[in-house]
């Protein structure tokens, strides 16, 4: 419709102006014809996602059972020779702050002496406490200063006895715990 009206106007105008108007109208008409309806180009959609991380503490020991036998005596002193076990390891993970690892036995009054010590701590911010004597069932600090970290250490058990302790056997259930400092 637009183009046909302009063509009618050309009849009364000189050739050079008519020609320019004609070309302009032709271009506009072509643009209108080719401009097919376009809707919703390159649409997008969104959603909300929340990732929440709670405090998590995990500890694990490699040896589920340790057997220590005192069956030798020193030729020099005549006292029983200590039994040592360093075969086990302790691994842990915490994303909390200011944690420590404690150790305790369930044996409230052991006859024979058992000591435990954390050695060769790796991949962690923790620091080993001095060797612990498990002579009662209270919790003792094993590794301290553990914060947002994972780690591993060797567990060294030393079992000893005096001649006066006689012979026999004892069982300990050793528990390791990650707890707040």
């Amino acid at each position: 419709m637009y183009v046909s009206v302009e063509l009618n106007l050309m009849m009364t105008m000189n050739y050079s102006i008519n020609h320019r108007i004609f070309r302009l109208c032709l271009a506009l008409a072509l643009a209108l014809v080719t401009a097919l309806p376009v809707f919703a180009q390159d649409a997008s959609t969104s959603q909300t996602l929340t990732l929440q991380v709670f405090e998590t503490n995990r500890i694990d020991v490699s040896q589920r059972a340790v057997s220590m036998i005192i069956n030798q005596a020193s030729l020099e002193t005549g006292s029983p020779v200590e039994a040592v076990n360093e075969d086990g390891s302790l691994t842990w993970l915490t994303n909390g702050d200011n944690k420590k690892i404690t150790v305790a036995t369930n044996n409230a009054a052991p006859r024979f002496l058992v000591k435990v010590h954390a050695l060769d701590i790796t991949g962690s911010t923790g620091v080993a406490a001095p060797e612990i004597t498990l002579n009662d069932n209270t919790n003792r600090d094993l590794v301290m200063g553990v914060t947002r970290s994972y780690g591993k250490c060797k567990i060294r058990f030393v079992a000893s006895a005096k001649v006066s302790d006689g012979i026999g056997s004892e069982t300990h259930v050793i528990t390791y715990t990650i707890t707040g400092s």
Binding site: L36, P37, V38, F39
Partner: protein, 162 residues
Amino acid sequence: MRDDRRYLSCWFSVAAMIAVLFGVFASQALAQLTLRGTANPTISITTGTAGGTMTSVVNTSSSIRYTRQSVITKITVRTSCPSQAFTLQVLATSVTRGVAAPAVTLTSGMAAVDFITNIPNTAGWTTATPTLQYTASATFAQGNSAELGNDVHTVTYTLQAQ
């Protein structure tokens, strides 16, 4: 000589009668069936559902008028649409004289199919004007007019003896 003139006269008379009869019937045929309303409707599909289909669009801006004949008649429909990409159906609605066929799917190059049948020849009416209900539909897989161009159907209706 007299036989020749009779022979030529006979031929000219027959030719004249045929020409007149064609003219009469042609002019009558033009008035028996006409399309009314929007001359050349355009149906635009503009929306669709994610994971679903494009939204079909219905157009009822056209109608078809036909007149009573001396015999029972019907109306057929066919279409031509080169490079057809989308789907178009047509259905006669508000039919007062005759029986509307189910919606016809218009496919380019199709043979004419029944559109309205059993149009009575009994007295009591002169014309009927049902609505042409066009339904355009498309799937996402069929594409769009920007890439493929519009479908332009030439839809032809014919009133004929049943």
